[in-house]
Amino acid sequence: MSDELENRIRVFRAEHRMSQGELADAIGVSRKTISTIEVGRFIPSTVIALKLAQHFGVPVEEIFSLRNDG
């Protein structure tokens, strides 16, 4: 069984009309950090996940979810 972390950051960015750089500045990380989280290369810390949720005003589970491959 392997669990993969999925995220909807791109969707939320589009809704808020934000670029990666703007979102990165808003939560105090680098643009590279945002882009690598978006593509699933970097599993963010709980702090980043909470900051993203706080910024978009949604629960963390709405941004991040586990995809269970069985």
Binding site: R10, V11, R13, A14, E15, H16, R17, M18, S19, Q20, G21, E22, A24, D25, G28, V29, S30, R31, K32, T33, S35, T36, I37, E38, V39, R41, F42, P44, S45, V47, I48
Partner: protein
Amino acid sequence: MTKAKNISPAQMIDSFLRRVGLGVAAVGVTYGLSALEVVLPPKEAGYVDTAQLVLSILVVLTIFPAFVKFMLARKRGVCKSAEDNSYMAQMFKEAAHHAFSATFITLIILEVVSKAIKPAMPVHFFIDIALFISLSFFAAMFFKLTGADDEEDDWEDAGE
């Protein structure tokens, strides 16, 4: 009128780490050249000395300004959170783990090789080789891990 360049602490840390990676690569090459110097004839060894000097100056010029900026920001306490949550910082640590393994394997190989080589080489030759492989491996891993393309993604592209 020019607009002042405003870089966030997180961007500054990424830039600093990139420069450190370049600096480590250059220092690695310096050790490689130092090892090469042992096996080259004296005339060619002179060129190697010059190359080492140029590389050393480049390392100082590349890292020192970024290091000063980083230390000043750290003193002001603006870097801690950004440092902990940086992708580049994580990859820096991962590259260091890989480099540790590579160094360990290199030392074991060099131990075997040093006994087999006749005539015996000076000790600093083997130390230089080990440092060359360790630092070069670290730099290569760091840039491999952080080098994948990730162009700026505007919000207009995000909804697609």
